[in-house]
């Protein structure tokens, strides 16, 4: 939050233009939050009350019952678990693989590097539907008996992890390679002269220096992967195996039988992202703009 008036320690005189601006911003911000507040209100009212009095009415009773019901009836914990099982390995693997590519591209100027980066970033920008038909067939063709529950890459957490990693590593490799190039290369040069291996160079010298960028990317990736809807809708066939965001679609027909429960279920699904966002807002925003603007 911005401080009062800086080093002079005086309050700036209240100007009409500023008042107008704040009024505008308050009104707009509230309008922006309105859909969410409306959902929150619906989620906190008993269905019996809203169906009797209509949704636009003064609430008599506000409870968290819908939240507990939505959570228990649909076994949401199970789906959160599914998400965790997919998102954690996917984020870690993406960061590991993309930082390795970035390390190679930024520290060892082989002719390939621009081309490699181009391939990675272009791939990341493609709409997912461009590749989904063959990917779906490929996942059906790959048999993994004993490795995944379904015996195939299709309908497995492993399949989702792999496509997340493949797809997201483009953006991360790009951001990280820019970041690594800003590190002085005397740093690694000296270590190489001292006989350090390439792996040590990467793991003990370069990677620790990339912590800020890695933290930003980890935040961003967690939210993106958590929020993914499409991959799981197509690549997972058993409702039970879906991560929470995609499961929402099935649950809303089966368990969330009235709008109040739907609202509660949707808001419960949003909570983890909101927690991450509020806790790590700076990392999230810097990650988002890291790749997107030139200073």
């Amino acid at each position: 939050m911005s401080t009062l008036s800086g080093p002079r320690g005086q309050r700036t005189p209240i100007r009409p233009a500023r008042v107008l601006l704040h009024t505008f911003l308050v009104v707009t911000a509230l309008a922006w939050l309105a859909p969410l507040l409306w959902a929150l209100l619906a989620a906190m009212r008993p269905y019996a009350e809203t169906s009797a009095k209509g949704y636009v009415s003064w609430p008599d009773k506000l409870t968290l019952d819908n939240f507990t019901n939505a959570f228990q009836q649909s076994d949401m914990l199970h789906y959160f678990g599914n998400t965790l099982l997919i998102a954690v390995p996917a984020v870690l693997l993406t960061l590991l693989l993309s930082s390795m590519v970035a390390f190679y591209v930024s520290r060892f100027d082989f002719r390939l590097n621009l081309f490699l980066l181009l391939v990675f970033t272009a791939g990341n920008l493609l709409p997912q539907q461009v590749i989904i038909t063959p990917l779906y067939r490929l996942y059906l063709l790959i048999d993994l008996p004993g490795i995944t529950m379904s015996g195939k890459l299709y309908d497995s957490a492993l399949g989702l992890v792999l496509i997340h990693v493949a797809f997201q590593s483009g953006f991360c490799a790009f951001v990280l390679s820019n970041y690594m190039r800003s590190l002085p290369h005397e740093l690694t040069e000296a270590a190489l002269v001292d006989g350090a291996s390439v792996w040590r160079l990467y793991w003990q010298i370069v990677l620790p220096l990339c912590k800020p960028a890695m933290a930003a990317l980890a935040t961003l990736l967690s939210i993106w992967i958590y929020n993914d809807f499409f991959w799981a809708i197509v690549l997972i066939s058993t409702g039970e195996n879906m991560p929470i965001t995609s499961a929402l679609n099935n649950l809303s027909g089966q368990y969330f039988t009235d709008p109040n429960l739907v609202a509660a279920g949707a808001l419960l699904t949003a909570i983890p992202t909101l927690i991450v966002y509020f806790a790590l807002q700076r990392q999230f925003v810097s990650g988002l703009t890291l790749g997107a603007n030139k200073g």
Binding site: W32, M100, V101, F108, Q129, V165, V193, A266, V285
Partner: protein, 327 residues
Amino acid sequence: MTATPAKAPEPATQPAPGPAPTPTPAKAPHGHRRLLTRRDRLTLGLMAGLPTILHVALVWLTALASIALAFTTWDGIGFDSITWVGLQNFRELFTSNPQFWPAVEHNVIWFVVLILLPTPFGLFLAVQLDKKIRFSRVYQTAFFLPVVMSLAVIGFVWQLIYNPDTGLINSIIGANKPGHYIDWIGDPDLNLWAILIAASWRHAGYMMILYLAGLKSVDPALREASALDGANEWQTFKNVVFPTLRPTNTVVLVVTIIEALRAFDLVFVFNKGAQGTELLSILVTNNIIGESSRIGYGSAIAVVLLVISLAVIIPYLIATFRKERRA
């Protein structure tokens, strides 16, 4: 964000990558190579090779397979049943698919609406919030909140507003009684616009953040000079600030195009792409998980999507990387 990367993200909703803010050193370290042992070279090969293989296999080979399959018919059972049919899928798509041209039109409308309404609004918000006002962070958080949430959740939240029986709008205007229904989700003349409002709601916050970052890099001295010259706020913005935002504008344009091509989740949650909300992405998906799995035909739609995407992505990336090299 997507990603889209954004997708950014695709995105997606994904943000598009661009050059990072840090300037790069003049030369990459050629000298490193001389010091490498054989084992080092092997390590390096694996470090660069494994991720590349994974990425190329799952993203680029499948994209190529989409192109190849677009010229065939295949029922998905065994490779023997793949038959080369030339341009037939495309001919059928362009001439006799009643959903194709509406889908193209809707994707275009999606882009036009996003670039004309929420994008300038996001820029406007960014300019206001960049004025060193109090509570700037609080306002930013409010506007940015929708960007953090998944499009699926957004779809469910907005259905509470649009539902013909119980939704906010119809309840307020009294259109929730039989005979007076306004069906925001089912009516093919209304549903796309209803969904676009929800999409714009999210897009504005995203654009605001991108522009705020861009505005931070505008040299304050430029603004001061302009103010000293007697320019008012609007003139300063138009003649000084906006032109220096050019790199951000490019990113914003690319991100918005990609978002428009990627649009899927919201529509799928709303009405699965029923009449009025057909999109290319929806048509492709329906060809996989729908009743009739026509692989070749679905791939032909994907190829249309691919061609449009690459027409945007490649020039953008080439320009970006060229600038990188000069830096």
